[in-house]
């Protein structure tokens, strides 16, 4: 499966996302923000980083990029789109998913190995998990606090659009401990933690059995690939 990874000026984890796709058995395709051509990919990843320095609002300037016209159209037509961290912020700025992000409540950048609970195991990117499963995924962000008005929160909670929740520690003050959300259809998923950093043994988060051995993130990528294959 060809999975596009879009590089924006200031994208940082784009190569990591490509590596994760490869480790999951997919074929990563590097896409450039300034182009309009999705090169026939079947799924898209908006990777983490500080596109445009996070200036103005995280993800805001990148969400105006030329390629986002195609990303929005593809998402609306049902193509799987994963927004990781900065990509999650872009999805929110582009209104592909509800809510918005502001500065972490404690005002600092934070990096930690974060435990998440999978709240929705039916989206294109989470179907390899089981509902309620706890996974460990590295988190690193400055503007990770997910917020929305009460009505929106009630709606996404009610309709199962909360895909992940922080367990144990809420690292940034997100409402309802929300770590990731999806659109109503379940093809677009955004989350603050970085699954691409938990895909290769030796370079992932510490786990109880061995250091740096966490590969829970791999399931995001195998989920989308296997679902495509089974279609």
């Amino acid at each position: 499966m060809r999975v596009g990874v879009v590089t924006f000026p200031g994208s940082l984890d784009d190569r990591d996302a490509q590596r994760a796709v490869r480790l999951a058995g997919g074929e990563p395709v590097a896409l450039w923000h300034g182009q309009h051509d999705l090169q026939g990919v079947e799924a898209l990843i908006l990777p983490g980083g500080f596109s445009y320095g996070d200036y103005l609002r995280a993800g805001a300037i990148a969400s105006l990029s030329p390629i986002m016209t195609e990303v929005v159209a593809a998402a609306k037509s049902g193509m799987p789109v994963l927004g990781i961290c900065n990509g999650f912020q872009m999805l929110a700025e582009a209104r592909l998913i509800p809510g918005a992000h502001t500065r972490n409540a404690h005002q600092q950048f934070i990096r930690r190995d974060q435990v998440l609970r999978v709240e929705n195991a039916s989206t294109d990117w989470t179907n390899g998990f089981t509902e309620g499963q706890e996974i460990t995924i590295p988190l690193k962000n400055a503007d990770g606090r997910f917020i929305a008005d009460a009505e929106t929160i009630a709606r996404i909670e009610g309709e199962g659009q909360v895909a992940f929740r922080y367990v144990g520690v809420n690292p940034n003050g997100s409402m309802d401990d929300i770590a990731g959300v999806s659109n109503a259809r379940g093809n677009v998923v955004g989350l603050m933690p970085h699954p691409e950093h938990a895909t290769e043994p030796g370079f992932g988060p510490d786990m109880p059995d061995a250091m740096s051995s966490g590969v829970d993130g791999l399931t995001f990528f195998t989920s989308v690939i296997e679902r495509a294959l089974s279609k």
Binding site: R57, A92, A100, T102, R103, Q107, R145, D149
Partner: protein, 94 residues
């Protein structure tokens, strides 16, 4: 050259942790210096102030475009309100 000021504030109903942190700092300073004027700040909110320098005249059309940019680009309506679009030191709008 004329400058247009766009002011954006976080929505009142949303918590502004940064504002809260500053409010806390002001409160601590206040109680540390009780002999001061002793103003009590019940709330602090922190927003943004954009200064856009425009080439040429600020026509009604230009102002309308800035208002649109303020809504669509300079602010995010999910969390922010545009509270002001004003022209600074310039000829009045045509």
């Amino acid at each position: 050259m004329p400058t247009i000021v766009v002011e954006v504030m976080p929505k009142a109903e949303l918590l502004d942790p940064q504002g809260k942190a500053v409010a806390g700092a002001l409160a601590r300073l206040g109680s540390a210096a009780p002999d001061q004027a002793g103003a009590t700040f019940t709330d602090v909110r922190i927003g943004k102030r954009f200064e856009l320098t425009v080439e040429g005249e600020v026509t009604e059309a230009v102002l309308a475009e800035v208002r649109r940019l303020a809504d669509d680009v300079l602010s995010n309506s999910v969390i922010e309100d545009v509270v002001g679009v004003t022209v600074l030191d310039a000829a009045p709008a045509a």
